[in-house]
Subunit: 151 residues, 4 copies
């Protein structure tokens, strides 16, 4: 896939840096390629559910974000992306030293993009799939930000 | 709906208190009734996406949690709940002074419970629906925790 | 909700009549109001899964359709509707004399509409909820039909 | 993946043959391997939506079924499978001479299996992805059929 915005990496990094939640979760961009974005989040007690594993909400947050930026990586300059909806299936407990959400494009449309992210728990013994997330995102010019907010 | 665990409120409060993510997000239990749980989360810069609104991931986290505890409110004592999957539709930007995720039971089964949570943004002007989340959760005895983890 | 197309009932009935699948399933429009559409489908051996109950696919088909037409009931004249995605939770076996899928609007946007349909099995003893479906649909002018097809 | 039921092919074919809906839709089993099932459905006017394309409900029905039988292919003998929920994203209009839904296992658990099906439109020019469906199914012994129905 050919990016239409030559500065897509810088633009995604800047957008990511503006997200308070990603800092709160300790998440970072691990890979930004056209149509492919991976986000990493080290395990921390600040991310747990009641049994001490990573909370489904934290895994969903990085997977949703990886999907959004994978969609944005193929958009023209000065576009923004918003999640329309996503579904996540939890596959195994969120037990690991860190977590990686790797998103790839399922369908890149004019307005709507469908993206899927696989979430893995990483530990010394290898990696285990802990969730998969299937998302619809809307990609719109930034200048129509107001209109966009009421899509 | 009649609760089967007379201490369901205390048990849910204790489980909630063990969740590092809920503290990280600044979330608290606002209402715990049989089949109904509401979680509140004040807006904070630590929760934002790139435009300064509450991140879909943060809204999903409290909505998922409200669903899980609504399911647990109807379970016997010494049971635990895990999300199997959820889908969230974002309806409006997460703009408000605080957010409330209000979950109710759609179907309470022997093993699987279906729950829906409506998420509202609260501001001086009233409340606006910003998301709706439809979840399947599995409710299992705590003593089978190992088995549960591989359901 | 005020319809923007005064002929929405006739237009929906004509669109429904063009759907080969609805005739194949024996389905009909039971109610068409602004933002509310109910589709009915009598039980038949032609609709079964392996245990003789109504197949989840048949229930999904009428629920998806009820959602689409509920969205279309609020659109201007000469608009068409297409499903972007839907999720269905099966709540009980599809056992009954007939089935009704009742859709209502969750959010009516400029381009995207979110709709939910509850599916009931109807029998002499009353009605039982057998499924719930949460859908995103895109509503677009008919004249841009080509563009729409690649949304 | 190693099948636990040596007769899984025959059992799946018999179960499929009992499904009235599959006959109604003109669908057939194209491939049955451990963890992989493909269902084919030729285009017909009996399957259409309002624009003459294959209805999302018909595509969902064969994709749901492919997922269920992919799950069943890994189950012990005398087990049955029921869909708990599925989400489908429509990617392109259902335009083609026939449609194929190809399912593969995402996670095979003790009770719950997660499966994904890709749906393609087949025409002389090649094949086009028209939908993807992500499902949770429950796999249970047939003898507990009553209990299963209220899972």
């Amino acid at each position: 896939m050919t990016p239409r915005n030559p500065n897509f990496r810088t633009d995604i990094e800047r957008s990511f840096a503006r997200q308070g939640l990603m800092q709160t979760l300790g998440a970072s961009l691990l890979l930004v390629e056209p149509g492919h974005v991976t986000i990493e989040m080290p395990f921390a007690d600040a991310l747990t559910q009641q049994n001490g594993f990573a909370h489904a909400g934290a895994l969903a947050a990085i997977a949703d974000n990886a999907c959004g930026y994978a969609a944005l990586s193929l958009a023209p300059a000065d576009y923004d992306v918003l999640a329309v909806e996503f579904k996540i299936n939890l596959l195994a407990p969120g037990r690991g030293e860190s977590f990686q959400a790797a998103a790839h494009i399922v369908r890149a449309g004019r307005t709507l993009t469908v993206i899927q992210a696989d979430v893995f728990a990483i530990a010394s013994g290898g990696r285990v799939a802990v969730a998969t997330l299937l998302e619809t995102a809307i990609v719109r010019p930034m200048r129509s930000n107001r209109a966009q907010l009421i899509w």
